[in-house]
């Protein structure tokens, strides 16, 4: 699929009588990798949930994969891979890693959701991308935070979706895992997949991003990295912003603040 995979026009969202997203609009071409950054409470997760049709805006128009997610919510969600923030996952439910990854496949099936050999192969393949295939029979709750993150990413990948929405997937991953995840995302982009990554910081994802969207309830900046990454443009949004040199690379550290 090429062309605009996401179309958002003049969208405003209220949560508990508070405006969380205010008249935002942008388009995403396929394939591409978009990084969404913004301070805490800027509406990043709300934006992902709006694209999935879980949170309905009180104004504006949203199209995902050519569909209206508020009318065809279930259809859209079955075509999109989503990795939520890990802290929403229950550790009281003793599911094995294999069961967690299969969840990403079985929820796209019809009722009774029988497991086929192909489903197990696809789930194994998704785990193998993240070097986690040997953890198939381990309890999810007994893995380290970083390993749990990888399993949730594998769950989103298992059904080979056209669009991936990743909410803070780099948090808690060690450097080696971050490097592997970056190559995986690059590989997916080469396979014509579109990826939207929500992060607090630009490093390390900035190296493979096609566009950056800086969100602070409204869209502050949206464009290619070289257009967006200037201190003049970012400083009003991130007063604590600083730039450092690391291994010959210039790294922009946004710093954190509340919206």
């Amino acid at each position: 699929m090429s062309g605009n995979i996401i179309y958002v026009k003049d969208v405003s969202v209220k949560l508990k009588d508070q405006i969380v997203l205010d008249s935002i609009g942008f388009e995403v071409e396929s394939p591409s990798l978009i990084v969404v950054v913004g301070p805490n409470g800027a509406g990043k997760t709300t934006l992902l949930k709006t694209l999935l049709g879980i949170i309905k805006p009180f104004r504006g128009d949203v199209r995902v994969l050519g569909l209206n997610p508020f009318k065809d919510g279930v259809k859209v969600r079955r075509l999109v891979g989503y990795v939520p923030q890990k802290d929403r996952v229950s550790h009281e439910t003793p599911l094995k890693v294999g069961d967690v990854v299969l969840m990403g496949i079985l929820l796209r099936k019809k009722l009774l959701r029988f497991i086929s050999e192909e489903d197990i192969e696809a789930a194994m393949k998704a785990l193998a991308y993240l070097d986690m295939e040997d953890k198939w029979d381990s309890l999810f709750s007994e893995l380290s935070g970083g390993q749990q993150r990888k399993v949730l990413i594998a769950r989103a990948l298992a059904s080979d979706p056209m669009l991936l929405l990743l909410d803070e997937v780099f948090a808690g991953l060690d450097l080696e895992s971050q490097r592997k995840l970056l190559s995986l995302l690059e590989m997916l982009k080469n396979k014509k997949r579109t990826i939207i990554v929500v992060e607090h910081e630009l490093d390390p994802i900035i190296n493979i991003a096609d566009k950056i969207l800086v969100l602070n309830r409204s869209i502050c900046l949206y464009g290619e990295p070289h257009d967006v990454l200037s201190e003049d443009k970012l400083k009003p949004i991130y007063p604590c912003l600083r730039t450092i040199e690391k291994e010959g690379r210039r790294i922009v550290i946004l710093g954190d603040m509340h919206a």
């Binding site: 879980i54 079955r78 929403r88 229950s90 009281e92 003793p94 969840m103 079985l106």
Partner: protein
């Protein structure tokens, strides 16, 4: 050859035990503590059922009204209390107040003395007094709860594990959550019929709690809670016959003993 009273009691407890799988899922959902509260709704339902039965004698058993009342309470609690733990707690208390008030008002003001015994039978029940129709009602209700649990097992587990992702992957989580609460309410009604409202907490909580001590595997938790509930029931009926006590009380004693043994075994292993 077993005495028909004993046979009906054994069948009753077997059907009541069949209700435990959905309670294991409620434990994983973090909502098992709601089930004893729902069981109090059975009192209001029983009073209303007996009142209806008094007005329309063709309706022989108040149990279907008890089930409806429990299901309505579960739906009310889960729908109105979904905002936060605080609002959930408030709505549980509201439903408890409504049920107990309904029970007290109908029992005192609307029922003749001979019918009050039927309602009071829901406070502490005796399985040895179960009729053929009573066994049939328990069978229909518990098999319905079991079939729903089997069909929607994955949906329920996914809601328990990661509600956000389940919704994001296209599952209608609110609908399945309501179904989970409603099915558990049917299980609660069955267990309440078997042991009574006052002692229902022992069969609602203890077998499931014991199973969660024994294993961390969901399938094994379901099987072990089923076995513990059955053992508690059979032991309870045997104790009841031996010491001429109501089965509700002896089943409660048995399940408490089994839970304590499981807990102590775990402590010893540690």
């Amino acid at each position: 050859m077993l005495d028909p009273f004993v046979l009906r009691a054994i069948l009753g407890i077997l059907f009541a035990s069949l209700s435990t799988p959905i309670l294991v899922i409620m434990l994983l959902r973090g909502s098992l503590y709601i089930t004893p509260e729902i069981s109090h709704a059975a009192l209001g339902g029983a009073a209303l059922g007996v009142l209806i039965q008094t007005c329309f004698p063709a309706l022989s058993d108040p149990f279907p009204t008890v089930i409806l009342f429990c299901v309505a309470t579960a739906i009310f609690v889960s729908y109105t209390g979904r905002g936060s733990q605080q609002s959930l707690g408030t709505m549980i208390s509201v439903s408890l107040a409504i049920s107990v008030t309904l029970y007290a008002v109908i029992r005192s003001c609307c029922l003749p003395a001979d019918k009050r015994v039927l309602v009071d039978g829901y406070l502490i029940s005796d399985l040895l007094l179960l009729s053929d129709a009573g066994v049939l009602n328990l069978a229909i209700a518990s098999i319905t709860a079991t079939v729903i649990t089997l069909i929607f097992y994955r949906e329920f587990i996914y809601i328990c594990f990661d509600m956000d992702a389940a919704e994001a992957f296209g599952l209608r989580v609110r609908m399945y959550d309501l179904l989970l609460f409603s099915t558990s309410a049917v299980a609660v009604a069955v267990i309440t019929r078997a042991v009574g409202v006052l002692l229902s907490v022992t069969l609602l909580i203890l077998p499931v709690a014991a199973s969660s001590i024994i294993t961390r595997n969901v399938g094994m938790m379901i099987i072990s809670s089923l076995i513990i509930a059955m053992l508690s029931g059979i032991m309870g009926i045997a104790l009841s016959l031996q010491f001429n006590m109501p089965t509700g009380g002896t089943i409660a004693i048995s399940s408490t003993i089994l839970f304590s043994l499981t807990y102590l075994t775990k402590l010893k292993k540690q």
